[in-house]
């Protein structure tokens, strides 16, 4: 009986199919992504966080009330009355609108301040790590000195002295977090520096700033991403700390911190004013923490 022959001659369709499957390997990023997707808490957190971000971006435009719309007739309404889904506060402002606006403000502060600390930290750490020697010593001494300062006190000092300008908040909080980023980046840079592809780049005549920018920084991505997802909740907490003390975001603008501290004052009359913002903040922070932990487990499973 005639058997169909699979021809393995070069150029035949079967060979091409076999070669395609054989060559398509799994990179380290693929491995990491698989491990991450298997972490249910992390995946759930990513979905929840995506929903929260969507709510923060589009929510304030979709609510029937504006976040600063004062309504003297609708004061202290319980949730689901008078058209206010989450109730209203002491000035009759809709809590849902303020909550979504607050989420937007807090997430923005988290993102911008983290970017500030990212830029400073990565630059500082990469330069110190790559150049080494006396420059490294000096730069890391400065980091050590600044690290032992109680930063929150200086942020408070800045706010008291110069007023609670939102740009100042971004810069001050960002300045708190860059130190650890610098340390992590320096450690990674030092281990990357010795690899062959850097030596090849040097041999090809690439200047040192170009090597840092084009080769070292992109390879730092793993630990930096992990640290970024763990920095954002710290920033959001720091901002809410400041708002609680009256030094952060000022009314009528809302942030999760101002909403929680306002809700804490009126806790007995209107517990919903405390509960909804607190739950939102707790959920947001937990999401970032789970994602950060998941990333850490995925990218460096030895750490577990």
């Amino acid at each position: 009986m005639p058997m169909t022959q699979i021809s393995l001659a070069p150029g035949s369709p079967e060979t091409a199919a076999l070669m395609h499957r054989a060559v398509k390997g799994r990179s380290l990023w693929d491995d990491a992504r698989r491990r991450l997707m298997r972490n249910r808490a992390a995946v759930a957190s990513m979905i929840v966080l995506a929903l929260l971000v969507l709510a923060a971006v589009f929510g304030p435009m979709l609510t029937p009330f504006a976040y600063d719309e004062i309504n003297k007739n609708d004061v202290w309404l319980a949730p689901m009355t008078g058209g206010h889904l989450l109730g209203s506060d002491a000035l009759g402002r809709d809590l849902l609108a303020r909550l979504l606006m607050g989420l937007r403000v807090s997430l923005s502060i988290g993102a911008v301040a983290t970017c500030v600390s990212l830029v400073i930290g990565v630059a500082w750490g990469a330069i110190a790590g790559y150049f080494g020697g006396a420059l490294d010593e000096a730069m890391m001494r400065i980091v050590d000195v600044l690290y032992s300062l109680p930063y929150i006190f200086f942020v408070i000092l800045l706010m008291v002295t110069f007023g609670s300008n939102i740009i100042l908040i971004f810069l001050a909080i960002g300045a708190v977090e860059w130190l650890t980023m610098a340390r992590i980046v320096r450690g990674q840079t030092i281990s990357l520096k010795e690899k062959e592809f850097i030596e090849a780049a040097r041999a090809a005549g690439l200047s040192r700033p170009a090597i840092i920018a084009r080769h070292i920084v992109p390879n730092l991505l793993g630990p930096v991403v992990i640290y970024v997802t763990l920095t954002i909740p710290g920033v959001i907490l720091a901002e809410s700390f400041l708002s609680f003390l009256g030094l952060g975001v000022q009314p009528p603008m809302a942030s999760l911190g101002t909403l929680i501290s306002g809700g804490a004052q009126d806790m007995e009359l209107a517990p919903w004013l405390l509960i909804f913002p607190s739950v939102t903040m707790a959920v947001t922070l937990m999401c970032f923490n789970f994602i950060g932990d998941g990333l850490r487990d995925a990218i460096d499973p030895k750490d577990r």
Binding site: L157, F162, N289
Partner: protein, 307 residues
């Protein structure tokens, strides 16, 4: 060991210097004069007042005077409480913060280590997940959320504990503030202890101890715990800093007359000298505690000493 101490001091002393300098210059940079009152002072009197406080001297001289003053414990007069100096205010209020801080620290260590050990021994069991779940909650819910909630439940609804106030340090008044202050630290310490414990329990010498027939309790308490708490000791410095920062919120919410509350009140009242004095005070405290924590770690772990 002495070289280690020397190296640490070499970092700590410039840090303190930077703190004092930054505090001084920020005070001078603050908008508005410390002598603004509702009624504008006539210029001659204003000049006399400024001369009394040394404001007419060149800035560098003022800075030198401030430094000298600080070294003698003189942080200047309070701007709001005209009859008290900053130092007097510090002395009046620090016992409260000290009691609160020490109690919270003890509770955090005892509970945190115990929970961490239990979670490690029953790894991946229900006790482990429960403890670690509580730990995540403790880290993610800020103290100014747990405090009002606890006050609502235990103070208003159940009426078991007083809602606020110090009352000379009565135990009932301490319970909630200490609980709120210690909770985030318990969370972090239990996670650290659990991780350390898990790693130690897998090591060879623990296996040998088991093979020798030692009881599990003896192994855990006498052998494993000592090695497992090393990562914890290196967290002690940040733990102190966390307790001190946390005390700002806790003292404010529970209306405890401590340094933290005073810091907040003075910051809001723009009483610059008090705020500066407190910043220097807190910074020194944190530096000293960090130094002690580093020394402890060096004493326990020779690898740190020799690195």
């Amino acid at each position: 060991m002495l070289r280690f101490l020397g190296r640490r001091l070499a970092v700590a002393i410039p840090t303190l210097f930077i703190v004092v300098t930054a505090a001084f210059f920020m005070m001078r940079a603050a908008p508005g004069s410390p002598f603004d009152t509702d009624r504008k002072l006539p210029p001659e009197i204003l000049k006399n007042v400024e001369a009394k406080f040394g404001f007419d001297k060149p800035l560098v001289v003022q800075y030198g005077d401030y430094l000298a003053g600080v070294l003698h414990g003189d942080f200047g007069p309070s701007l709001k409480y005209r009859d008290k100096s900053v130092l007097e205010i510090l002395k009046e209020n620090y016992p409260v913060s000290l009691t609160l801080g020490l109690s919270a620290f003890t509770v955090a260590i005892v509970l945190g280590v115990s929970l961490g050990v239990i979670a490690a021994l029953r790894q991946n069991g229900p006790a482990d997940y429960a403890t670690m779940g509580m730990a995540i909650v403790g880290i993610c819910i800020p103290s100014f959320v747990t405090a009002p909630l606890l006050v609502l439940v235990f103070g208003s609804i159940l009426g078991w504990l007083p809602v606020a106030g110090w009352d000379g340090g009565a135990p009932a008044n301490l319970v909630m503030p200490v609980a709120v202050l210690a909770l985030p630290q318990i969370a972090i310490i239990s996670r650290l202890t659990r991780a350390g414990m898990i790693e130690v329990l897998r090591s060879n010498y623990v296996r040998t101890a088991r093979a020798k027939g030692l009881s599990e309790t003896s192994i855990v308490l006498n052998h494993a715990l000592r090695a497992a708490i090393l990562p914890l000791v290196s967290y002690l410095g940040p733990a102190f800093a966390g307790l001190i920062t946390g005390s700002l919120i806790v003292e404010q919410i529970f209306n405890l007359p401590g340094l933290g509350k005073f810091f907040v009140v003075s910051a809001l009242q723009r009483d610059y000298t008090v705020v500066m004095g407190l910043v220097i005070c807190f910074a020194t405290l944190i530096l000293v505690l960090n130094l002690l924590a580093d020394l402890l770690q060096a004493a326990l772990d020779p690898r740190v000493r020799l690195s």
